[in-house]
Symmetry: C2
Subunit: 355 residues, 2 copies
């Protein structure tokens, strides 16, 4: 069996930690493993398949001989380091938004559009967490019945903003319990002018605002969904809109999704379709109060779908409720699945580079 030299960039973060775990659980045979993070974390160790590895400070000269880079250290780090990794011959699966909208960078969810992988030039982008779980649920319906409109309102977990944001949520909850004032320092956006508590609150801002009043997170959901389902971030035949809200949940994004198709399938047919779709678990039994919940989805790799019902007044329109672990399927697991798919398709090579 083929073996690979793998580097994980940003291995100490909420997603990086899980990339290491998901790689360990995967069938990827790892020859050499390089763990990279910021200078602050250099020298720490991590166990992988029974062996101890020391974390090194990420620099451009550490990618020599690496076949696969799994990257989740922030957009600016990806921009600074990944071109050098590609030049050294490594294929990079990047979890940041740095390259997602580049026309020659495939944006891939393995259950949805694995065929795009053949077009990579060294970088494959992992979509935004909120986009991944939505397209996993929508793609089977789109393939069968063709979507023309999607409207989503998200209920996004704190960990989407990283481990420290998740810690902040728990700290604030405890501060509230002890009658102290909450001390928000990270959310809604790291480095923003104002910070607001998330515990026992709702923050209708994720990422910065664009000029048209949408946040960048909403912009991502719109354009990434079009790129993944239609191959074009500016596709006009599939209309997509999003409202993204941060909620006081540590792990597990919820999404209230409204969609319109060109046909009028019966709800049980769509439920059956989803029940047999890869990566989807149908949890849709209202009579027994079965529906997706973040506390049940956390720690699992599937996308959970429920509350599917036909709109009462618009023929061909439906509603559903989608939940997934934003750190696993929304990030680390999807990245490892992309690496597996690259291996399966013999695409772990940079076309322009001869090693």
């Amino acid at each position: 069996m083929q073996s690979f030299n793998v580097a994980i960039l940003g291995v100490t973060g909420a997603v990086g930690t899980r990339m290491l775990q998901q790689l360990e659980k995967s069938d990827i045979v790892v020859d050499r493993l390089v763990l990279l993070a910021s200078a602050r974390s250099a020298g720490q160790t991590r166990i992988f398949r029974g062996q101890s590895y020391t974390i090194e400070e990420a620099t451009t000269d550490l990618f020599k001989g690496i076949d696969i880079v799994l990257s989740s250290a922030g957009g600016s780090v990806s921009k600074a380091l990944l071109p050098a990794a590609v030049k050294a011959g490594a294929v990079c699966v990047d979890n940041t938004s740095a390259f997602r909208m580049e026309p020659d960078v495939p944006l891939v969810v393995p259950e949805v559009n694995p065929g795009m992988l053949s077009q990579h030039h060294g970088i494959v982008a992992n979509p935004n967490c909120s986009t991944i779980q939505m397209v996993v649920a929508l793609a089977p319906i789109d393939r069968q019945y063709k979507l023309h409109q999607v409207l989503v309102s998200t209920y996004q977990a704190a960990s989407g903003a990283g481990q420290r944001a998740m810690n902040e949520l728990f700290d604030e909850a405890q501060q509230r319990h002890e009658g102290e004032e909450e001390t928000a320092a990270i959310l809604p956006v790291k480095g923003a002018e104002h910070h607001y508590p998330l515990a026992f609150n709702l923050l209708p801002q994720i990422d910065v605002f664009e000029d048209d009043g949408f946040t960048h997170e909403e912009w991502k959901m719109i354009h990434e969904t079009k790129k993944i389902l239609r191959g074009d971030m500016n596709d006009t035949e599939l209309k997509v809109s999003a409202t993204c809200v941060r909620v006081p949940v540590p792990i597990g994004h919820g999404e209230s999704v409204y969609f319109e198709t060109n046909q009028t399938p019966a709800v049980p047919d769509m439920q059956a379709l989803l029940a047999h779709s890869k990566g989807v678990v149908l949890q849709d039994d209202p009579a027994h109060q079965v529906y997706p919940q973040p506390i049940n989805a956390a720690g699992h790799g599937e996308t959970f779908v429920g509350r599917m019902r036909a709109d009462r007044e618009n023929p061909g329109a439906y509603h559903m409720w989608v939940v997934a672990d934003n750190l696993l399927k929304g990030a680390a697991l999807n990245a490892v699945q992309i690496a597996q798919e690259l291996i399966k398709r013999d695409l772990v090579r940079v076309p322009e580079v001869t090693k």
Copy 2:
């Protein structure tokens, strides 16, 4: 100035407590005050405008001489007691869903449809909390630009299910902190077969499920909105759909509202319209991270609106984010405002009853 004999039914609950407070703050001159609750609470006292009142067990014979009943003791209590109150000559403002869909019972939000009050036969229904804040925000736009479609996803606070549900949320958060298992006993629905923790979780079920897969809460939002804005719970020209989700927030419902109009007004025109609408506070300045949040809305009587923006692809379609204190504008305050409006319009009398 005219004075009134007022009874508050269910005065010990989350809403009833606030009905007493809002009545105290109001300009209503109260002659005699009768506080009613279940047998369990009888004998307790409450202070109102400096005077102590003893709570009595609610029975049908206590409404004699009462002019106004403010009721929030649950649908079955309203059904059992309010007909007797009306017979005794009292006008009842009922916060439960018991009578909302009766054709001869006005369903009123004073800023929106106060004219309906003249049609009462002794009972005026206070709409559901999630409906009230949405129609306060939508009505000015509807009047000016005529709506034909509304899609809402709600983010509803625990207190919508009562004081005990709110306590349960805080208890669960503390149990989680102490590493204990959460002991849910109330949510999602009191008396349901299964109970799930709300702390750090999302529950896509509010009230029981209808046969079509919608919950009764969603059903209420759909039909109440039509009745309030179009005078007919089954109106077909204004399409309404809702997905209702309980979130781990104690007080303050959030709503992601998508609406379509027959015109294409500019967003600043709609913002100006809302800024000058009664009961609305516009909090819409993304550049300075100003938008409605439950922690800021709690304890206030207004409906807060922000994040207004035009849909990027559907002309005449818009998105906004609406937050209000579900116990005040969503319940106790709206009920007291109805009483004030009844007084102003000289409608504190039951047409069929001569005292």
